[in-house]
């Protein structure tokens, strides 16, 4: 089976609000797939359809080769889920909830559980009502990571974790990838996707606007250049240069990858003291996707 998740043309409506409007999502088995979008784009709605908590209004969806609504309970034995907003039973301790969630999924590995509790630095004897948001998140994460599920569905799993715990989380996800598990990771934290994801799907307003590896997506876009020059320069007549700012001898601009050679030629003719070229961060990609301009207009 090549794909863990296949969804196409997914639609879901809540009263007058269109939450999903033709969303496509393909997650290949064994990959870490980042599912990106701003708040309210439909990430959680998609995940809840994948879990069989919501019924789709239209489109096709397959999860681990089954129908997520009809075969919910069978499929749930093969996946583990961490909700975006983790709420726990206030009267139960963290340790009890970890065990309960593991048993609800059909068991987990005691050694891994213990190991994860130590790595995430969680006190399992505390009642859930006393946990902070970050600690509630840890409880759900430990329960999911300790399971033997072949698919992990994580809805904004690091919201609330401190940077140290975020690093631990990344180590764990990389280990999952090595073990051949599939991970669907929704996020609006782009550094996370950059650090972890094999492939990325970006959605906006309930529809997919881009999907592929980060390399493929950068190919479509621009390179950011920071340079300190030794002489005056005019880039205004070079096509494919955007947002050029010249502050004394300091130049900052974005260049379409297609004209990179031409721009570098002009720069070296002027004389360059320092030069930094870097691919756009996902933030920059993101900004472009969510700016008012349609995506096509940003391309040469």
């Amino acid at each position: 089976m090549a794909n863990a998740i296949e969804a196409s043309g997914l639609r879901k409506q809540f009263g007058p609000t269109k939450a999903l409007d033709g969303l496509d999502l393909t997650v290949r088995s064994g990959e870490v797939h980042a599912f990106l979008g701003p708040n309210g784009a439909g990430k959680t709605t998609t995940i809840r359809i994948l879990l069989g908590l919501l019924r789709k209004d239209g489109g096709e969806v397959t999860l681990l080769g089954g129908d997520p609504w009809r075969d919910a309970t069978t499929l749930h034995g093969r996946l583990a889920y961490v909700p975006g907003d983790v709420t726990l039973w206030p009267g139960l301790t963290g340790g009890e909830i970890i065990d309960l969630l593991a048993r609800l999924r059909g068991g987990s590995d005691d050694k891994r559980r213990q190991d994860l509790i130590e790595r995430f630095d969680l006190d399992p004897a505390k009642k859930a009502r006393a946990y902070s948001k970050g600690n509630r998140q840890k409880v759900a994460l430990i329960a999911a990571l300790a399971s033997d599920a072949e698919l992990l569905v994580l809805d904004e799993p690091t919201a609330g974790l401190d940077p140290l715990m975020e690093a631990t989380f990344r180590d764990c996800i990389n280990a999952e990838r090595r073990d051949g598990r599939t991970v669907l990771l929704s996020s609006h934290i782009l550094a996370e996707a950059e650090a972890l994801a094999d492939r990325v799907t970006i959605i906006r307003a309930g529809a997919t606007i881009e999907t592929g590896t980060l390399a493929e997506m950068r190919h479509l876009t621009r390179t950011t250049i920071d340079a300190e020059l030794s002489g005056p320069l005019s880039l205004s007549d070079v096509p494919g240069v955007h947002d050029a700012v010249l502050d004394g001898a300091r130049l900052r601009c974005e260049v379409d990858n297609a004209v990179l050679t031409d721009v570098l030629r002009v720069l070296s003719a002027t004389g360059v003291r320092t030069l930094t070229c870097r691919p756009p961060t996902l933030e920059e990609l993101f900004l472009r996707h969510y700016s008012e301009r349609p995506v096509a207009a940003a391309q040469p």
């Binding site: 309970t73 909700p83 139960l92 340790g95 009890e96 309960l100 609800l104 999924r105 009642k127």
Partner: protein, 537 residues
Amino acid sequence: MNRALAGTRDLVKLALRRDRIMLPAWIYVITIGVTSTAYTFGKLYKTPAERLALVASGESNPALLFLYGRLSGTSVGSLTAWRYGVWAALFAVLMTAFIVIRHTRADEEAGRLELIGSARVGRQAPLAAALLAATLANVVLTVLLCAVLPLAGLPAAGSAALALAIGTCGLAFTGISAVAAQLTTGARAARGIVFAVLGLSFLARAVGDSAGTSGPSWLTWALPLGWTEVLRPFDEPRWWVLVLPVAAFFAGTWCAFALAARRDHGAGLLPDRPGRPEASRALRGPRSLAWRLQWQSLLGWAAGFAFIFAVCGAAAQGIGSLLGTSGALRNEFARLGGQSAIVNAYLAALMLLAGLIAAAFAVSAVLRLRAEETAGRADPLLSGVHGRVQWGLSHLLVALAGTAALLAVAGVATGLGYGLRSNGAVTVGGEVARMLGAGLAELPAAMVIAGVAAAAFGLLPDASVAVGWTVLGLVVAISIFGQSLQLSHWVLDISPFTHVPRLPGGSVSAQPLLWLSVAALALAVVGLAALRRRDIA
């Protein structure tokens, strides 16, 4: 303004805005309930002679004394105060407890007060705002009753006394609720404390009233609910009694503020103890989780049931002492079937009460499903290998088993109380067995109410909480007030408890119980089937 109270005005506005539907609804229901009772009594019992007959039956029947309190005077006003005074006060108390705890401990537990506390809001402002909102609600209720009751034909002075009796009872519990909200870390437990005090108040009043002249009639004076009665609104009111609830209000308020000033945000009087770092083997699925989530509250209910019904069962013996009072009453008794028939009627009324209260537990146990769903705690369960039906069924089973257990406790406790006090007139074992059966006979009717809540949870999840409690409220109203208001038969038939054989004493017939069980089962199936089809919130 005192710095600790800064922002109180805005918080009061917020509270009133959040309660803009619930508060008027409570006040409306209580006002209409009292007024329509007064109006109906005025129409049904026109002549003093007719009222005298009702009074005679009321004075002689401990079951009625138990449920409604002692009657003073024979005017329409007295009858109204008798039939509805204590109950209206009870509803005012429930309203008050919900307001106070909702805006103090519930908000604190949910973390909403933290956000508010970080603004320019004084430490005591949330408590002050909750108290002001509750006080305002009780004042509005009092003023409204003062204005409306005379329209139903009651004298103005008596109306004012009754209105004040009801309103000040709510006020007394404003203080008690505020203290409870400071003691616990959870809103659920705080409400539990208030309900326990309320139950104790009702019980003290009920036992004091039905104990007869030789019994502990001082109990009526012991706690707030009885004060509404000893005020005697329509029979030379003892106005000074109003000092008691007002004093309770001030004492409670002072205590609550003192406690609030000394504790940390989010903390109660007792710190949380650490629990077990690993789950026990038993906690392994929706069923064991539902049980784990509800057993503590069930235990509290069961303890309350055991206490209340043991005491009430013991009070049945006091009925004998009333027999000697007058020849007319003795004849009346004989006509109704002698002492054993009267005792049976009293015990049957107790079991009806047990059924209604147990139905409240059943509804709350079923609606726990909705609470879990809206809190987002259904998602982790439903993303496991267990299906929706198993999850839904888990709490329905708690409702069924818990309600059965409560009714069994009520029956056994009543039987023990009555049997042990009867000095050998009846055998303890026989009474326990008889009352156990009588208690469990109420189970199918209680489960029909739970079934309505379950069906609402599946079909109309957004409205399920309102539907569940409204149906219960209607059934309670019909069962307790229906007959004295001479409602027509089809209205009485709405209540499933109307169809339960009156036990002990009545003729046992399995057929209505069977039908009620089938109805309960059908409603549950409808609810679960709908749950399978709908979106999870």
